[in-house]
């Protein structure tokens, strides 16, 4: 075994039969990490931390919550008022959802900027997209549980999307609801699934980490590690850097939990669900707004009705990420060496922000046309621009190695020829 013999006899005894200590040693002390990771690489571990926080607070909330349409709203308010520190656990869970999405979105855009999805990390990236999908399902079902106005009407709108599927749509919706409207059976199954999904996410996260540790982290230069001079062990270097990042993150998180706990939510969800009274505006939580904008922007296309077309656009916006590693034809990973893609990347960020802004407003007037342009551009980016830029862009020369680029003077550069990392 690569691990040095432990001093402790019990540790040695266990390790010979179940090599968990060797495993940890291998994945932490020996696991080589590029020495040049920036703070953008903190967001993966922050997402992991948020998952643990959400599961921990969620389990305590589940002990006090009652999944019944007549009792759910009051049971949440009981947690807020009468359960010791219930308000704290619930505000952490509520704001935790938002912060989970914030760190995950940053993590995803970091991957987009530095080409972390490229060979040999395609499956790592695709597992990440699976995690994102599971997170969205979990967040959506979790938002239904307090049974406020937005819970109920959000659930009604989103589950109704499936009725857009030709022929079987209505049957699917009835099956999802467990009845003919969003009602007690819906709440019960959403609660069961909301409890299940985080553990599915945990499983996929393990695969995600396994895939990560196979080839190690990408890095801001996007070039492979060439030897020991390019890497440092994960522990203690990145454990302490991640911990410092955790500290900064928790301060920002705490400011929201303790001083602006309702700033990211919709006030309407403090009104009990009323199936007979539609709220003037049905808006999802902020982290779904870009997708909601796509859903509402798409018009009738030929024989496809706007509703179905919108649903297709919304789901495609995620599914397109699965094939991203093959849509981006450039062999160069990092945007630092991609003069054209770098700009297109920031345009995509802007595009998603515009979509989010549009999603928060009623589809009237200029919001409609802006939403359509932004939706169109989103797909243009992935389906047309990425493949073309990869072919026509002239990347800047790549540094010969990570250590050459980090040591003073920038090291030697590979020369004027465009380096190709794969044939």
């Amino acid at each position: 075994m690569a691990a040095p013999q432990a001093q402790n006899k019990i540790v040695r005894w266990i390790d010979r039969r179940l090599p968990i200590f060797s495993y940890l040693h291998h994945e932490l002390y020996e696991y080589p990490t590029p020495k040049n990771l920036s703070y953008w690489w903190n967001f993966g571990s922050l997402a992991g931390l948020m998952l643990i926080i959400m599961i921990a607070t969620g389990i305590f909330l589940a002990m006090e919550y009652t999944p019944n349409v007549n009792l759910a709203f009051d049971s949440v308010e009981r947690i807020m008022r009468d359960v010791n520190y219930g308000w704290l656990v619930r505000y952490i869970h509520m704001n935790g959802a938002s912060f989970f999405f914030i760190v995950t979105y940053i993590h995803i855009f970091r991957g987009l900027y530095y080409g972390s999805y490229k060979e040999p990390r395609e499956l790592l990236w695709m597992l990440g997209v699976v995690i994102l999908l599971c997170m969205m399902a979990t967040a959506f079902m979790g938002y239904v549980l307090p049974w406020g106005q937005m819970s109920f009407w959000g659930a009604t709108v989103i589950t109704n999307l499936f009725s857009a599927i030709p022929l079987v749509g209505n049957a699917i919706v009835t099956w999802l609801w467990g009845g003919f409207a969003v009602d007690n059976p819906t709440l019960n199954r959403f609660y069961a699934l909301h409890y299940l999904f985080p553990f599915l996410i945990l499983g996929v996260v393990m695969l995600h980490v396994l895939a990560l540790h196979t080839h190690g982290s990408n890095n801001p230069l996007g070039i492979d590690r060439k030897g020991p001079q390019d890497s440092i062990p994960f522990h203690p270097y990145y454990t302490v850097k991640d911990m410092f990042g955790v500290g900064v993150f928790l301060i920002i998180f705490a400011v929201f939990v303790f001083y602006f706990p309702n700033a990211l939510g919709d006030p309407a969800n403090y009104t009990r669900a009323n199936p007979l009274q539609t709220p003037p505006e049905i808006v999802p939580e902020w982290y779904f707004l870009p997708f909601y904008a796509m859903l509402r922007s798409v018009p009738d296309i030929l024989f496809i009705k706007a509703k179905l077309a919108g649903v297709i656009a919304m789901f495609s916006s995620i599914f397109v990420l699965f094939v991203l590693p093959w849509l981006d034809t450039s062999p160069v990973r990092s945007s630092r060496f991609r003069p054209v893609y770098k700009w297109v990347f920031w345009l995509l960020v802007l595009d998603v922000l515009v979509l989010g802004y549009v999603g928060a407003h009623r589809p009237e007037g200029w919001y409609v046309i802006t939403g359509r342009i932004a939706t169109f551009y989103y797909f243009l980016h992935f389906l047309i621009l990425l493949p073309l830029i990869g072919i026509f862009e002239r990347p800047l020369p790549l540094p010969t190695s990570i250590s050459a680029a980090v040591t003073k003077g920038g090291g030697q550069l590979a020369g004027a020829t465009v380096p190709r990392e794969k044939p």
Binding site: W87, N262, A268
Partner: protein, 267 residues
Amino acid sequence: MKRLALLGFLGLAVGAAGLAYAQEEPSVPHQNWSFSGPFGTFDRGALQRGFQVYQEVCANCHSLKLLTYGDLGPTGPGGGIGYTGDQVRALAAQKQVTDGPNDQGEMFQRPARPSDHFVPAFPNDQANRAAHNGALPPDQSLIVKSRGAGLGILFGTSGADYVYAILTGYRDAPANDKLPDGMNYNLYFPGHHIAMPPPLSDDVVNYSDGTKASAQQEAHDVVTFLTWAAEPTMEDRKRTGAKVIIFLLVMTGILYAAKRKIWAKVH
């Protein structure tokens, strides 16, 4: 062609904005609240006066189902509104609640205890509607948290501003506004037509602490009370937050120092 389209688009946007403006309510003015900001706490005098306004005015139609009488006393969340245990017991005992069944299998009436929830004026929503021309006076337990918009949401005061604006926003209807029977004109209510008649006026209550009971003062007090009722643990939350954030600042400082020390060899 392009410019024409752009002009048309601009014209449309301006037209739409103008139309929207004509129908919309004026933006809600901001008030000074004792509970705003990271260190804001509830003014205990305002809480007790506000509770008096709720009891004597609002409670005739609006329930406050999520609160118990005990919440007002020292054992309530955040220490209540400053009532003593005896005051709370006396207050609860004024109301009758249905309990049972007893060992004869019969339901019976008994005076309310501090652990009982606020007894509503009407036995159910239908009775409440029937007495109010079909309109249901909403429960007020979360009215402050469930209202508000704009930046105020960030600071947690826009709901209070909104409820205050409604309570003080009654005006005579403009001549061109045909007010339906039984409706009242309110500047800040969506659509301006509100079923609730103006609830507050000068001296509608008698404050025992000598505060002048103007309509504005009453509205200010009752909104303070309702904000407390919507989140009685607010003071606790802010106090805990200060401790947590100070701890995190120190911890993060130490972690930063550790990071610098460990990485010193790498650079």
